[in-house]
């Protein structure tokens, strides 16, 4: 029993330690720029959590990461690697913007709902394509999702510029969505546009748990992810599950559009995502593919993003680009956790010998 508890504590401590190590290594880089890493760290923390506004911005950045983290994790439970969240979220966001721009007359309350469903559906279809290709043609989803990211960027770029451009601006962006599509913000965070997308993300995280661990279909998804042949032998239609799983993963990523389009920008801006889809992979990895872990990991990466955004002003040479280095360091440390397992096992073996 004691051993069991120790292992579980290890499961919690490991990611915490990896994150700490990654941040330390990443911050040491600022030495090169002649900054004091500790000073940079303090700026980071202050800028991420220092005020209601700062906290709000952290949450604004964390919200899309919850969606993409859940997206990657969902596919992972079905034994699939979704590197396509970036493309799926672009499709979702564009769909939300297109609906909001074209259907200005929808009644309030219904309008954001329709746009939300549209975003999920568009992302879902974009995710379903590699799912279908995997299930029916046997081509690997990793490469297909990578390729579809570029295809999505191209398609969204074309549609934004040629179909529904914002004629008042030089930037590649769509026209504004109708006011009735915009979802309300929480006044608590002041200027920070913390919208209803955040509670939606938390609700979806709960739904994620309930679906995978409490429903029959969720069990089938996990069974296919664990052992496809065994699942097939048990009468589960693995092709259908694969397609469904990447559809759901795509839909989850597509929901990023809710916060980004209906919550803040009010329109689709080409290239609005600073790699939410890729950071989602790190979020899922760090969060152990569990909803609570994903929410916490998304918070961490959101805080990193917000924290580094003030570095341009507060320091001489360190720019917000340091956030990429920090993220990379954290990802590398987290993905190297297999090493800790080896050490733990060795330690345990020694203990068993002594005891």
């Amino acid at each position: 029993m004691r051993l069991l508890r120790r292992v579980q504590i290890g499961q919690v401590l490991k990611p915490v330690f990896s994150v700490a190590l990654g941040l330390t290594l990443g911050l040491l880089v600022t030495k090169i720029a002649g900054e004091d890493p500790w000073h940079v760290f303090k700026i980071l923390v202050n800028s991420a959590f220092g005020s209601r506004y700062d906290l709000g911005m952290t949450l604004v950045y964390a919200t899309p990461l919850i969606f993409t983290g859940l997206s990657v994790a969902f596919a992972f439970h079905a034994g699939l690697f979704n590197i396509g969240a970036e493309g799926q979220l672009a499709m979702g966001a564009f769909a939300a913007a297109a609906i909001g721009y074209r259907l200005q007359n929808l009644p309030p309350y219904i309008a954001p709902l329709v746009a939300t469903l549209g975003a999920a559906l568009a992302g879902g279809i974009w995710g379903g394509i590699p799912g279908w290709l995997r299930a029916k043609r046997g081509s690997h989803e990793v490469i297909n999702t990578i390729m579809l990211n570029f295809v999505a960027a191209g398609c969204c770029g074309w549609a934004t510029i040629y179909l529904i451009p914002n004629l008042d601006s030089q930037n590649p962006e769509t026209g504004a969505v109708g006011a009735n599509f915009m979802i309300p913000h929480f006044a608590f965070f002041g200027e920070a546009p913390v919208s209803f997308a955040l509670p939606l993300a938390l609700l979806v995280a709960f739904g994620f748990w309930f679906f995978l661990w409490r429903t029959v279909t969720g069990f089938e998804v996990r069974a296919v992810g664990q052992n496809e042949s065994a699942a097939r032998a048990a009468g589960i239609d693995a092709s259908k599950v694969r397609i469904l799983s990447l559809f759901v993963a795509g839909a989850l990523a597509g929901l990023v559009g809710v916060g980004e389009v209906l919550g803040t920008a009010g329109r689709f801006k080409l290239g609005f995502s600073p790699g939410y889809g890729f950071i989602g992979i790190a979020v899922a990895l760090l969060g152990r593919n569990r909803p609570i872990g994903i929410v916490l990991a998304a918070l961490l990466f959101g805080a990193l993003h917000k924290g580094t955004s003030d570095l341009d002003l507060e320091t001489e040479n360190v720019t917000r680009d340091i956030s990429l280095i920090l993220q990379a360091a954290v990802i590398l440390c987290v993905s190297s956790e297999g090493v800790w397992d080896l050490f733990l096992k060795r330690g345990r073996k020694k203990e068993a010998k002594n005891g």
């Binding site: 429903t215 029959v216 664990q226 052992n227 097939r232 032998a233 048990a234 009468g235």
Partner: protein, 520 residues
């Protein structure tokens, strides 16, 4: 007397469990030495230490009268073993299917083209002299009478030929000590006798051969001397003249074995639960013109060397929807034509399946074993209602199964992969018997299972028959087929080449039929 190999008190532990505990063993030069034992007796571990894959915890290995390995002088890797003239044919062949036979053989010992020899670059960047290699190989294959075509890619060749390539690989490296790990597991009887012919020839040319096996008949017909392993120890060593199969079996198991059990008399036969009429599969003819029927209350055994269509038949029965395009003939499962059925419908209509490869087709190894138990039952009440899984129902039924089947460890939250083969198989049987199946398809039900569990599983199969189930038993173990089956069908190259009632067939007759021999 000079010994090619000598083990002195070798010990190797994994995670605190001794796989080898003080193994001592002498192998005469120029002899065929068999090592027998049950699954997990430590045969492979000992051989892998000789080959340098594992390091011993203590003890010594002597080769050709010299200390080669051990605690004080460990091997570092297989490449050292190769340099000492030790070669191994693994159970899973070490061949890359997409590459040519020649490239597979000369891998790691590539001859360099002469004209490149003096270029000041490392050898591994120079050109390979494939012509020279081919010439030498031709000489070798002539010397030992093992002809093989060097050009085709390995994946196009039969298993028997692939094994021959593995042996040639060792000869090309001038190995003098050859280790073969379960070499006959995948061979047809003809291929087996051909292999034995080659091995005897090799011995006569002065090679030392170590062969790991659990088939006692092969030991007595091939080996000069035999060492028996049990529970990580050597429990006996015999000259082949002074022993027989019964003696070796007793040594192997550790008690007098009586695996032969007579099932109670035939109950009244019920209606057919499985019927195949003129079933053929595709253009490659993996299955040819099968006619068979299983009725409630009987056990129909299918015997045959692996790879003669049994796996295809099993897959066809469970996943008929995948074969609809290439199937001809009719299959009826529980009275319904199978081409109209999905796997789920087959499973839920009262068909239980013990899969051929339980790790691959039966279990979720990385999850708590209760999820493996749920697999396939998950859509049925009481395990789920309206799409929602009931945790209490799983726990309650899992507890019941643990009691009923004496499963260890006695809780359902252990990681499935950590369980022993026998206990994993018991979970599968508990699951498939949760609703008494009308048709039970049992494929290799006791493979990789300890002796105690074998008896238990056989009893369960007989119980099912007594309760009126029809059982289709597929097994490559002749004893199992002979003991359990009321009728025996012999498969050869996708065809039924023999049919016997209980008591009509002997091992010898079955063995001949399995090898494709016609009437005697």
């Amino acid at each position: 007397m000079s010994f090619a190999v000598e083990f002195k008190a070798l010990t190797k532990t994994f995670n605190g469990v001794a796989a080898n505990a003080g193994i001592s063993l002498k192998v005469k030069k120029g002899s065929i030495h068999a090592i027998v034992g049950e699954n997990g007796a430590g045969k492979s571990t000992a051989m892998k230490m000789l080959y340098g894959t594992y390091q011993p915890d203590s003890g010594e290995i002597w080769v050709d009268g010299k200390l080669w390995g051990g605690r004080s002088k460990p091997w570092s890797s297989p490449s050292d073993a190769i340099h000492c003239g030790i070669g191994m044919v693994h159970q899973h062949f070490m061949l890359a299917g997409t590459h040519t036979v020649l490239d597979n053989i000369l891998l790691g010992v590539e001859p360099i083209r002469k004209e490149w020899k003096y270029l000041p670059i490392p050898n591994f960047l120079k050109g390979i002299d494939r012509t020279r290699a081919a010439k030498r190989l031709k000489e070798i294959s002539q010397q030992y009478g093992m002809a093989v075509d060097l050009k085709p890619s390995v994946e196009t060749l039969s298993v028997g030929l692939q094994q021959r390539i593995e042996i040639l690989k060792l000869l090309y490296r001038e190995a003098s000590i050859l280790i073969l790990d379960e070499p006959t597991a995948v061979l047809t009887p003809q291929e087996t006798s051909e292999l034995f012919l080659h091995l005897r020839k090799l011995r006569d040319e002065g090679k030392t051969i170590l062969i790991i096996t659990h088939k006692l008949k092969e030991v007595t017909s091939l080996a000069d001397r035999v060492t028996v392993f049990r529970g990580g120890r050597v429990v006996g060593e015999r000259e082949i003249q002074e022993t027989n199969e019964e003696d070796l079996a007793t040594l192997m198991v550790g008690r007098k074995v009586n695996l032969h059990r007579e099932p109670p008399p035939l109950p009244a036969l019920r209606k057919p639960v499985l019927t195949l009429k003129n079933v053929s599969l595709g253009t490659v003819r993996k299955l040819r013109n099968l006619n068979l029927q299983v009725r409630g209350g009987e056990i129909v055994g299918i015997s045959g060397v692996e790879g003669n269509g049994q796996s295809e038949l099993l897959d066809l029965l469970i996943h008929p929807q995948h074969y609809s395009k290439i199937l001809s003939g009719e299959i009826e499962i529980l009275g319904r034509p199978s081409n109209a059925l999905t796997t789920r419908e087959i499973k839920s209509s009262g068909v239980g399946v013990i899969p051929e490869d339980r790790h691959k087709e039966g279990l979720l190894l990385d999850r708590p074993v209760r999820e493996s138990f749920l697999l396939g039952l998950h859509r049925n009440a009481p395990f789920s209602r309206r799409g929602i899984v009931s945790e209490e129902a799983i726990d309650k039924n899992a507890k019941k199964a643990i009691r009923e089947y004496d499963i260890r460890p006695a809780h359902a939250y252990a990681r499935c992969g950590a369980l022993s083969g026998g206990n994993q198989q018991k979970w599968i049987i508990a699951r498939e018997f949760h609703q008494t199946p009308e048709l039970l398809i049992a494929a290799q039900p006791t493979r990789g299972v300890d002796v105690g569990a074998i008896e238990f599983i056989h009893q369960k199969i007989i119980d099912a028959r007594m309760a009126g189930s029809g059982v289709l038993l597929v097994s490559s173990e002749l004893d199992e087929i002979l003991d359990l089956s009321d009728r025996i069908l012999v498969f050869y190259e996708g065809e039924i080449v023999g049919e016997f009632n209980r008591g009509e067939a002997s091992e010898k007759v079955l063995g001949l039929r399995m090898g494709g021999a016609a009437d005697l």
